[in-house]
Symmetry: C2
Subunit: 202 residues, 2 copies
């Protein structure tokens, strides 16, 4: 497989894909995309493959793939790693994450960093949702090692990404001890590295 | 397969699952759940299977499945219908829908119907997002029949559900003609019925 990943160090969605590749030890080319450049002015190679003008894009043998959770499941099926991409429980957690915690936490983080762009009231709403989502995740993780059981799957990779940045939204991980312990288990996986480390512009 | 679906007529997420079963002509038992009853007081059979206390839950041969998009993909794999549940493009659209249009439109619909529960500012934010999501979907659908190509897949079922209710949020489908034409193609599929019709409490 010839792999090129377009990412950005501030994108937790791109980090998910980079983290899968790092944990699975899969060689690939990494291309950082400057998201502050207007979409129409981004490099031509990126615009040619980025269906939604967003990162991540993973080009696999010439075919571009978008949507981080879909990429994770596709990689899992291609490699047989991290659950293999077809388990019903793993899918459930992917969609829970996509519709819940990966909506509330990333948007809240963005508006905490760029408060001038936050519509009035949206932050309070996202804050309330994020706390509900974290409480739910904490409860679920209190009785098991990883989201779908004893072994890490793509669902863990999808759900954990933005949670390494909770401090950026002023949350203290100590409020959600089961999440903290689970993040520690993920940190202990061979090949793991933190978001900014893994997507260092180079 | 022995199938029991727990749903509610106001849930577009439950409608997705009911619609798959209707379009595929798969016999099942349908149990409406009264969502106005507090979670702890809902029927014991529902509480026993509903991991998140939410509809839909599809019990397949005794095993409960939650998260509507995950259920659709699982049913597709079990039956081989509507894309078979493993195509990369189909997965991309599922996650786009889960994180975008099935976040903005359902929440906006809810707050339009229950304005007293809407946090200040959240409605404006959701309205802006919903219009962006609809514009994107309209653009994508302008050059093809269904989301992943010539044939309907689970991605179409997932993305269309709440869009049959756009009038409930005061939107006129005429603004998004490619979406309107696509919804008409879905309406024309054998077995299709509208949300309230398919989940009539009975």
């Amino acid at each position: 497989m010839n792999l090129t990943l377009y990412g950005n160090r501030e994108s937790g969605h791109a980090y998910k894909v980079k983290l899968f590749l790092a944990l699975a030890g899969i060689a690939h080319r990494y291309v950082p995309v400057d998201l502050e450049t207007p979409r129409a002015e981004r490099p031509a190679d990126f615009r040619a493959v980025a269906k939604f003008g967003e990162v991540p894009v993973l080009v696999i043998d010439g075919t571009p793939h978008v949507q981080s959770d879909a990429i994770l499941l596709h990689l899992a099926r291609l490699t047989g790693r991290f659950g293999g991409g077809t388990d019903a429980r793993v899918l459930e957690w992917h969609f829970w994450a996509a519709n819940r915690i990966n909506l509330s936490v990333p948007n809240l983080r963005f508006y905490r960093r760029y408060p001038a762009e936050a519509p009035a009231g949206a932050v309070a709403w996202l804050d309330e949702r994020a706390r509900l989502d974290l409480a739910r995740l904490d409860e679920e993780l209190s009785d098991r090692t990883f989201l779908a059981g004893d072994d890490p799957t793509t669902a863990d990779i999808a759900a954990c990404a933005y949670l390494f940045w909770l401090d950026q939204i002023g949350y203290d991980i100590a409020h959600w001890p089961a999440i903290g312990a689970w993040l520690d288990r993920i940190r202990a996986l061979p090949g793991w590295a933190a978001p900014y480390e893994l997507q260092a512009a180079s």
